[in-house]
Symmetry: C2
Subunit: 359 residues, 2 copies
């Protein structure tokens, strides 16, 4: 709806006209599609998480949940080796990120973000009137932390980066934190469990580090909506103040109980992460044999480009065979790439067969 020329737009706050909302990957309502477009985990959630959620279904739901999610924060703190006042939880990591932009990144100076990165970051900048400075990835589509040293209002980047999957070492993160000691540096670790080393271990050392994680990828719970942040207590306090000025009870009983049980089921977590990694390496080899090259992904997706066929054509042709992958067109540098989520073994096999026939 475009209301800019109608009378009715007078009801909108002026800001609303300027927004460019985020467009999530398609959640198709057709079944039997091979869905490799939104980086969901092909493995089911932990059976223990499902059992814990089932236990919540009863009279309890007439009551408000714990607004402070005390048990969940304590569980995460123990798991990571921090204290509960160093943990924040929200309705998916997107909500956690939104509060982060408002609570910690509004300093009247542009924040630094990679030019090719999670495309929600510029949207948050728009929502909270934060200027951004997009720092170009290197020629090989990796992040060079020495490019993040100009004056700024904060730094945010995913590690591994999306949609490239390229990983920064902890040494690089440390360098980034040291170079920006007076600003908050947010490391968005949505994909860290697929082969990276988490920066959460740097929290006690750096008072400017906030690490964001999610249950949506490595814990197979995209449908539950739970995300976290870890940082020293003064950073978490800022998030709590914004959260408690926005919505007292963002996490249902279900979400709190399911999250605790998922975190506690370490064996299942390790098993499914390793299986995803093995499948990623296998698929990478198969795609290389078909003429694809790719970034060095440490996430649950591959970011690939073909030597002759265009990404746009491959994406459209795959769709006709019932396979959905993501073609991101946000930057000309990557518009001949496809982001392909790591599916189950059979889904990956269907993909490889379809590509063999297409190419």
């Amino acid at each position: 709806m475009n209301l800019s020329n109608t009378d009715l737009s007078r009801f909108w706050s002026p800001k609303v006209h300027e927004l460019s909302p985020y467009v999530p990957g398609e959640q198709p309502k057709i079944s039997n599609l091979v869905k490799l477009n939104t980086n969901e985990n092909p493995y089911s959630p932990s059976p223990k998480a499902l059992a814990a959620m089932e236990e919540q279904l009863g009279d309890l739901l007439r009551l408000y949940p714990d607004p402070n999610a005390t048990a969940l924060r304590q569980c995460l703190a123990s798991y990571i080796g921090l204290t509960a006042d160093q943990v924040f939880v929200g309705n998916g990591s997107d909500e956690v990120l939104a509060h982060t932009f408002q609570a910690l990144l509004q300093h009247g100076q542009p924040i630094l973000i990679p030019d090719i990165s999670y495309s929600f970051y510029p949207v948050y900048c728009g929502l909270y009137s934060i200027e951004k400075c997009e720092v170009p990835l290197s020629e090989d589509l990796t992040i060079n932390v020495s490019d993040y040293q100009q004056p700024n209002g904060g730094v945010i980047l995913p590690n591994p980066n999306a949609p490239t999957g390229e990983l920064l070492s902890l040494d690089s993160i440390r360098q980034l934190l040291t170079a920006n000691a007076n600003r908050v540096v947010v490391i968005d670790e949505a994909y860290i469990d697929f082969g990276g080393q988490s920066a959460t271990q740097l929290v006690p050392e750096f008072d400017n580090l906030l690490v964001v994680q999610t249950l949506s990828k490595s814990r197979s719970l995209a449908g539950l909506r739970v995300g976290f942040a870890f940082g020293q207590a003064h950073l978490i306090e800022a998030l709590e103040r914004v959260k408690n000025s926005f919505n007292s009870y963002p996490l249902s009983h279900e979400a709190q109980a399911g999250a605790i049980a998922a975190i506690e089921d370490e064996d299942y977590f390790q098993y499914t992460c390793q299986a995803n990694i093995a499948q990623r390496e296998k698929l990478a080899g198969q795609l290389q044999a078909l003429g694809f090259s790719m970034t060095n992904s440490h996430a649950n997706f591959l970011f690939v480009t073909h030597e002759t066929a265009s990404a746009k054509d491959i994406c459209a042709a795959l769709r006709l065979t019932g396979i959905i992958v993501r073609h991101l067109t946000s930057s000309p540098r990557i518009d001949n790439y496809l982001r392909i989520s790591i599916g189950s073994a059979s889904e990956c096999e269907l993909l490889v067969q379809a590509l063999k026939e297409l190419l």
Copy 2:
């Protein structure tokens, strides 16, 4: 934590220092308390809603939910007699209200709110830098809509009002909408199902009306976190633009499916609403016999004051007997009142017995 004099506060966005976050009613972790402090419904959620939620617990949870909650919005639209583009859904009505303040009430002029009302409204004003003009309730603690005619950036009020439970007629709402034809008027109907007439029927007629509702009270689902707004499509579009700049997927599979089943279980809904109303009228009579007077509540709570005993003392004494009620101290005009949620028949009996012994 007060960081204003420490170095670490330099990491906070300046806005964070100014916030006065909302403090929700206590959610005690002790069991066996008679909890009459947060207006939860004493009846369990609809068994059909619980069954629908149980069906969601499985492999499906590894996938993102429908970001647009299409089925739920269609269900609500049919139920109310509107179209899906006239319905917005969020993570509890608090999130819906937050987006409403940002999307529709920022016009550089003070918004009008009752001076005694839902205490989250001033908090949202703080979060979004919206000035407010608090319009005093009449001497009898009711809202007089003719007091809402000065220039403003919008109007928001609960109907029935909280914490008084006093109800405005649809004629008064109509008068309010007509007098503020160039600003959005938000009617927050968290308690409407306990004896009021909803303003949703005025949506087709008024392009400036937004009606907010929740599953937390009359549907016994405070623990699920689902709220709604109804308004003409241009108002809903503003909310969608903000929501999609904040969090694509606020409602889990569980929340969407549970909400649909709860709305569809009309018989259970009518039965529990009528039972709450009957219990309210019975409790009102019992309390009057004990020397309490009260506002004319159309909500699932009573707002009472005693002829001799102070509200503060009664609240503290009840607490010692394991009964929690709410003593709101936000305004001197009501600091000798208690807000008492309508509990089950046995909870209300325990309350009456305890009061008989105390007074």
